[in-house]
Amino acid sequence: MTDTAVEAPIIELRGVDKWYGEFHVLRNINLDVGRGERVVVCGPSGSGKSTMIRCINRLEEHQRGQIIVAGIELTSDVKNIEAIRREVGMVFQQFNLFPHLTVLENLTLAPIWVRKLPRNEAEETARLYLDRVRIPEQADKYPGQLSGGQQQRVAIARSLCMKPEIMLFDEPTSALDPEMIKEVLDVMVELAREGMTMVCVTHEMGFARTVADTMVFMDRGEIVERGPPKEFFASPKSDRTKMFLSQILAH
C-alpha cells in the first residue's frame, strides 16, 4: 500500500469476515483493486477464494467489514446490490447459460430487461461480442448444442453485453476438457489487454503470468501473500505459498 494511487480503487474490501454456520470461511480480508488492474487469486481448494469473489457481487453475504464497489457500499439495501450487479460481470465454473434460450437470447436478456435497451440495439451489441469471442455463427443455437469451451465463451460474451466495469471469473476453465481451455483463456487474455478490470480465481498459472498485475494467494480463509507475478513465482515469501506453488507447478 505504499504507492499513492491517483484514483480510488474500484473494489475495496476492508476487514471482511464471513462464516458458514460455525465455519470461519473468510478471515479479515483486505484487498484493493484499481481500475484496469488484473488480479489473479489462487490457493488450495476450500481456501475461500470463490467465496471472496462471490462476495463482491453479493452472491454471498459478508458478515463483518466493508465492501465498496465502484464507490457504492454493499449493504442489504437492494438498490445498492442492483447498482453494483449492473457494473460487475461474472463468469462461472459451470457456465450457467440459460438452457431454454438461444445463444443470442442469452446475450440480450439482461440488456433488454435490466439496461432497457431496444431489442435491435441489444442484438447488435450481442453479435458484436459473439464476434469477439469468435463464435458469431452459433447465435441461433441453444447452449446444449455447443461444446464446453464455446459455452464458456458465450457466458463471457453474455457478461460483456452488460458493458460491465469489472469482470469476475470463478474458475472459468476448471470444468473444461483440456483441449478447450486455451480458447477460453485466449478470450480472457484479449479482454485483459483491452484494459478490463478483472478478478480471476484460477489455477492456470501460465495465464496468471501473462496477464496478472497482482497475484493473491489465499489459504484457510485469509490472504497469505500478494505481489506482482514475477516476485510471487520467483521468490514466494511464506512457506504456505511455496508449498502450494511447488505442488501446482511440479508437473
Binding site: 453479493r58 449492473r86 450457467n96 440459460f98 431454454h100 436478456l109 435490466v114 447452449p143 446444449g144
Partner: protein
C-alpha cells in the same frame, strides 16, 4: 483445426440386416425368446376371443333407432337410446329451442383450446383471444342481451358444464398455483406459512368436501339476502382445489432448477420477478409438463363430482336419462358413450402434452 477433422471422410456402414425390416422388427419385439413368444401367442389369443364379439355387439348387432328399449331386442347394443337422448345428454335441461347456444359455447371452447396449441399465438394475443372467447361463451350461455333470452344457471347442464368448470377452473388455478409454489419457497416466513397451510389444508380434504362446503355451508355464513350463484361457488371450489395440487407440481419443477441459474440471473442484475418470469419459470414449467397434464386430466374428470351438489354435468345427464322408464337396461350403452366423450378430451390433452414436450426439448441436449 476443427475444419480438418470434419473434412476427413468417414466410412458409413449400414446396420446389420437382421435387426432391420419388418421381419427383423417382429423377431426383435415379439419372438425374441421363448417366454416372449408365449406372451405374444397369449396376447393374440386374448384379442381373438374378445374383439370380434365386442365389434358384433357394438356395430353389427346394434340397434340404431327404436322408440324404446323393449323395441331394442336382439343381442346388440341399443344405440337408439343415445340417439333419442343425445340432446339431453349434451345440454341437460337447457331450454330445447335455445340449445344451439350451448352448442356454440362448446365449439368456442374447442376453438380456444385449439388456438392455445399454436405457439405463435402465445403471449398477450392469446390472453386477449381467451378473454373475448370467455365473454362470448358467457353471453351465449346466460343471454339476457343481444336479443337472447335469459337462461338461469340452474338450467345449465351437460358437456358445457364440464368444460366451464375444467377450463375456467384450470385457467384461474394455474396462476394461483404459481404464486403458491413460489410462496412456499419464499424467504419470508409469513408468506411461506400461509402458502404451506393453504396447500396442506386443501390437499388434506376430499374435493367432495370442498364442493359441499361451497354449496351448503358458505350460504350459511353470508348475510341474509346475499346469494352467490351455486355454479359460481362450485367453480371457485374447483379452482381453489386445483390450485393446491398444481402448486405442488410446479414446486417440484422449481426445485429441479440448478442454483447456478439463479446466480447467473442475479449476477446479470435481473430483479426477483424478472428472474422468476424469464429464467426460472420457463424451465421449471417445461420440466413438469407430464405431471401438470396429469393434473389437468384429473381435474377434468373430477368435474363430474358436481352431481353431488345437484348440478348436472355430462355424467349427471346420462344418469338422469337412464332413469327414463322407457329405456331400462341401456346403462352399458349410456356409460360407454359418456366414457368415450371423456376419453376424447383426455386423450387430446395427453397428445398435446407430448407435442409440447417435444417442442420444449428441441435443441436442448445438455
Amino acid at each position: 483445426m476443427t475444419d480438418v477433422t470434419q473434412d476427413l471422410p468417414l466410412a458409413v456402414e449400414p446396420p446389420p440386416r437382421a435387426t432391420s425390416g419388418p421381419f427383423g422388427w417382429l423377431r426383435a419385439n415379439l419372438f425374441s425368446s421363448v417366454s416372449n413368444t408365449i406372451l405374444t401367442v397369449l396376447a393374440v389369443a386374448l384379442l381373438a376371443v374378445t374383439i370380434p364379439p365386442l365389434v358384433r355387439w357394438a356395430v353389427f348387432d346394434a340397434v340404431w333407432s327404436a322408440p324404446n328399449s323393449r323395441a331394442c331386442h336382439g343381442a346388440g347394443a341399443c344405440w337408439a337410446f343415445i340417439h333419442e337422448k343425445l340432446r339431453f345428454i349434451f345440454f341437460g335441461t337447457y331450454p330445447y329451442e335455445e340449445q344451439w347456444r350451448p352448442l356454440f359455447a362448446v365449439l368456442i371452447f374447442i376453438a380456444l383450446i385449439a388456438a392455445s396449441c399454436d405457439r405463435r399465438l402465445w403471449g398477450r394475443r392469446l390472453v386477449l383471444i381467451w378473454l373475448a372467447g370467455l365473454v362470448a361463451i358467457g353471453v351465449l350461455m346466460w343471454g339476457g342481451i343481444l336479443g337472447l333470452s335469459y337462461v338461469s344457471t340452474e338450467l345449465w347442464g351437460g358437456l358445457p358444464l364440464n368444460l366451464i368448470f375444467a377450463v375456467i377452473g384450470i385457467a384461474f388455478a394455474f396462476p394461483i398455483a404459481i404464486l403458491l409454489a413460489l410462496g412456499r419457497r419464499s424467504q419470508l416466513p409469513a408468506v411461506r406459512t400461509i402458502c404451506i397451510a393453504y396447500i396442506e389444508l386443501i390437499r388434506g380434504v376430499p374435493l367432495i368436501t370442498v364442493l359441499f362446503m361451497a354449496s351448503v355451508m358458505l350460504p350459511l355464513f353470508l348475510p341474509p339476502g346475499v346469494t352467490i350463484d351455486k355454479l359460481l361457488r362450485a367453480q371457485a371450489a374447483f379452482m381453489l382445489f386445483a390450485a393446491a395440487y398444481l402448486a405442488e407440481v410446479i414446486r417440484g419443477g422449481l426445485q429441479a432448477i440448478p442454483k447456478g441459474q439463479i446466480e447467473a440471473a442475479d449476477a446479470l442484475g435481473l430483479r426477483f420477478w424478472q428472474r422468476t418470469r424469464l429464467v426460472i419459470l420457463p424451465q421449471a414449467l417445461a420440466m413438469v409438463i407430464p405431471p401438470l397434464v396429469n393434473n389437468f386430466i384429473g381435474a377434468f374428470k373430477d368435474t363430474s363430482l358436481v352431481v353431488i351438489i345437484g348440478l348436472f354435468d355430462l355424467l349427471g345427464t346420462v344418469t338422469t336419462a337412464l332413469s327414463d322408464a322407457n329405456w331400462r337396461g341401456t346403462s352399458a350403452e349410456a356409460y360407454i358413450f359418456a366414457a368415450s366423450i371423456y376419453f376424447c378430451f383426455c386423450f387430446f390433452m395427453s397428445r398435446y402434452s407430448q407435442m409440447l414436450e417435444r417442442e420444449f426439448n428441441k435443441g436442448r441436449r445438455s
